[in-house]
């Protein structure tokens, strides 16, 4: 990056540290910001505000701004008998946007990944146990990702909560609605058969 001034070089270096941004993209973004200074100022302000104001909710570990407790935990209309355990705040956003769930959440802050050195101690699991003791919900919904690492995390949580008087469920997995059986993969069918449920019969 020789030839650029020091501040542009610093900006390129900082942008390179963002996920998915390589040196060339960082260079392109930096030059865009140099050429669009009003936008660059607004972006700088937004970044500064996020860094200053956003923190973790004291109850669910989700992101919150200004208040110590997030909007979802403060909402009195939420179903407080259910806590949905997710890995990251973005998973919470996805479930919220579906509109299918009106309970509370608990954000773990990651998933157990021994290969990457992420152990149970690195997640907010003690906090979850304490919360269950305090709030005594009826159901914990495990919404970890349907991968080996997500299932390993769920498996650990099941063992952790084994002695607590709370029902533990997990999100179903299987066939995609609107698709035919002939295009389903073997693992989709395995999951679908394993997670089959009784059909409600009207009038009985």
């Amino acid at each position: 990056m020789a030839g650029y001034s020091r501040s542009i070089r610093d900006l390129i270096e900082l942008l390179t540290q963002l996920p998915g941004i390589g040196p060339r993209t960082a260079e392109r973004l930096s030059l865009y910001l140099v050429h669009h200074q009003p936008y660059a100022r607004r972006l700088a302000q937004a970044i500064e505000q996020v860094a200053r104001r956003v923190r973790r909710c004291a109850i669910c570990n989700n992101f919150t701004e200004t208040e110590e407790i997030c909007e979802i935990c403060r909402d009195p209309n939420r179903d407080r008998t259910r806590i949905c355990v997710v890995e990251q705040p973005r998973d919470l956003v996805v479930i919220e946007s579906s509109g299918a769930y009106r309970g509370l959440y608990h954000v773990l802050g990651g998933r157990i990944s021994p290969l990457e050195g992420v152990e149970p101690d690195h997640l907010s699991l003690d906090h979850l146990v304490k919360r269950i003791h305090d709030q005594q919900p009826e159901e914990i919904i495990l919404a970890t990702s349907p991968t080996t690492e997500g299932d390993t995390t769920a498996s650990y949580i099941v063992e952790l909560l084994r002695d607590l008087p709370v029902q533990i469920t997990r999100l179903a997995r299987g066939l995609v609605p609107g698709s035919g059986l002939e295009i389903a993969t073997a693992d989709m069918l395995v999951n679908a058969i394993r997670d089959r449920r009784p059909v409600e019969r009207p009038g009985r």
Binding site: P114, L115, E119, T147, T148, T152, Y156, E159
Partner: protein, 276 residues
């Protein structure tokens, strides 16, 4: 180069760009490989389930030896690793298998026996089977330590001592007269040595039933973990987590800390390199 089809165990999947994955696997026919699976993260992609960690899949690769990054065209799930519903330590055992294969095997070096052992262990990741797998891996890759004679001077150790010193770096047990114990080691009991000899004997029907308990189990695991980490030349997080969760490793520490702790005074011998 044309496409090749093989059966592989998926050891690691790393996100690459918005839709792709970089997969590291251990194949039956050409050992470890790294492959780019374009579009594997797309919602409706047929490969998605087959490229999850610890799944056994039939993969079709376009080999690119020059770059070292193959292209993964197709993947068909043969056997899934069901983590949910298993005890947590069994899930961890699967991760240990993956990390050991990543750390000890090489690209383009087929290890069919080790592949079979890995498949069997992932299928039933119990503690005895994992211990057997670690010794299978050590022996299959040509690192089996010397357990019947001194690894340094070669004197047979058939007088059945109460305990012996085992040094992973020296490559086996050491007699009391051999001086080069500047390297860290373990003092293991006669029972643990006998157990090691059984584990290292090579594939046999009876070995599959070996179960160790009490102090011998702890000695075996600590020594095995130290040996495998020494061979991998780096700490293995999954193995350390496994030992902590099974109560074998120390609560705060690691196997490495245990293994590298200062040997007892009786084991320490003159170290010319550091003597003033």
């Amino acid at each position: 180069m044309g496409s090749v089809r093989t059966v592989a165990l998926i050891l690691k999947a790393r996100e690459y760009s918005e839709t792709s994955l970089v997969i590291r696997g251990f194949s039956r026919d050409f050992g470890q490989f790294t492959a780019l699976a374009k579009g594997a993260r797309r919602l409706k992609h047929y490969r998605a389930g087959a490229l999850d960690l610890l799944c056994c899949s039939e993969v079709t690769l376009r080999r690119r030896p020059r770059t070292g990054l193959d292209l993964l065209h197709e993947a068909r799930l043969i056997r899934e690793f069901f983590a949910l519903g298993r005890p947590f330590v069994e899930c961890l055992a699967g991760h240990v298998v993956a990390q050991v294969l990543l750390g000890l095997t090489f690209a383009n070096v087929p290890e069919p026996r080790l592949f079979q052992a890995a498949m069997a262990t992932v299928g039933e990741p119990t503690e005895p089977r994992l211990l057997q797998f670690l010794w299978d891996a050590v022996c299959a890759l040509g690192h089996c330590p010397t357990l019947d004679r001194c690894a340094v001077c070669g004197i047979p150790m058939d007088h059945r001592p109460q305990s012996v010193r085992f040094c992973p770096v020296a490559g086996g047990i050491l007699c009391e007269r051999c001086p080069p114990v500047v390297l860290p080691g373990h003092r293991i009991s006669r029972g643990a040595l006998r157990a090691l000899q059984l584990l290292a004997k090579g594939p046999s029907g009876s070995r599959r039933k070996l179960r160790f308990q009490g102090q011998i189990r702890v000695e075996l695991w600590r020594l095995t973990a130290d040996l495998v980490e020494t061979l991998a030349a780096r700490p293995l997080n999954a193995l350390r987590t496994y030992l902590r969760q099974t109560g074998i490793g120390t609560a705060q520490g690691s196997t490495r800390r245990t293994a590298l702790q200062t040997p007892p005074e009786s084991d320490r011998l003159p170290n010319r390199a550091v003597r003033p």
